[in-house]
Subunit: 132 residues, 4 copies
């Protein structure tokens, strides 16, 4: 499985009073990594929605191993874990600058015609771009 990685700095607003990145921000980082993966494969997600395809999130899972801190440079690796005709699963690994694993997770999605819309089959170019 070929993965793709983005780097980002933990924002002050993303910390909580425990002094670490709040756990609810990881799904946002996952989403950002997914966005960059789609762009890198030639099909920016914004163009999906313009064509009427919405990739709805049906499940999120995240395991937290070590905290991320303000201003820390973290890397989010994303890979397509599985691809079906109308659904896709992405997996994520969040690492610190030394490569140590901070968190790992996955998100499940279905393709629909619009939010609340009918499930759609991935058109060939999107299926090709997501091939694991």
């Amino acid at each position: 499985m070929k993965s793709f990685a983005v780097s980002l700095r933990v924002r002050y607003a993303e910390t909580d009073q425990m002094g670490v990145a709040h756990h609810a921000v990881y799904p946002v980082w996952f989403e950002q990594a997914r966005s960059e993966l789609a762009r890198a494969r030639g099909v920016p997600y914004a163009s999906w929605e313009q064509r009427g395809y919405f990739l709805v999130v049906t499940e999120v899972r995240c395991r937290y191993l070590k905290p991320a801190r303000y201003d820390q440079l973290v890397t989010v690796e994303v890979a397509v874990a599985s691809l079906k005709s109308r659904a896709v699963v992405f997996s994520y690994h969040v690492r610190d600058e030394r490569g140590e694993l901070l968190a790992e997770g996955e998100t499940h999605h279905v393709l629909v015609s619009r939010q609340g819309g009918r499930p759609q089959t991935f058109p060939p170019d999107l299926a090709e771009a997501l091939r694991p």
Copy 2:
């Protein structure tokens, strides 16, 4: 000027590593207070958008006097500070349980036909509901 107040508890996710509610969350509280004001006056904001009216934010200002902390019960008072044919200004006062002022601010808005759309004149019922 008749004001209206909503109470809310500071969420853990809203704190930052300084141990207080992050400053960017106050505009979100302002928005919630505005929503409840509209509902209390009989015109929930969701119905505005269904009718094609969008109340775009053109300016936000907030002054922070004392910090709000996790789980603290804060009250957000909102009032219509000024109303013109196509624009409205709301003012806000955030207080703790003893009534002490934590922050005060204001938001400026114009009514448009949709985001990026043309300015609109408030229809009579909305103008009436917003009368200061």
Copy 3:
């Protein structure tokens, strides 16, 4: 298993351009429900931290069944799914006003002396309060 429920309105800031509550906001709602459960059982979480006990999140899982929309009144039911000497699992069910299930999830936690600190055994009063 005795559950506990809190009601909240979806904030405008919590929506995304799909027109629904963004998926990353559900863990924040879960946290709010947990906070209220602790308060209802006589041990507000703020008092835990004052005593030096931090309930760190080690895993979050959420399944999304139907979207929640701006201004919708949703109910978050929370229950203690399992309790061990130093760890606890909470389960959540998010419902709309008619009781229909919008999402369900769970969060796993360990008790530590502080963020990054050593795992602790729940003191008797907290263990009692969390008894499923």
Copy 4:
């Protein structure tokens, strides 16, 4: 006044149902720009807090001219607008890829020994780094 700029992509989670970046996210972008300015001048803000200096926000103002959209690359220019012995004002300009102004704002700060603590005079190296 010498300014400094950071680029960032609008996150999907930062949009709202109007299809644009929510107004409350701009103060978060301002903060990120401030962080990068401090780093570029050799005194990362994380090191301030380690030394016991906290730069508290006392006021935020933002004017919104044009919306920012999902995945858009925006540039946040930040400059020190004024510096006093214990207070500083930063100004911000948010631009799109063609340089068009989307928003402008400012944040006011005082230096304190810790959140809720006593105002402090900027130590020489921080004053030097912030010189407008």
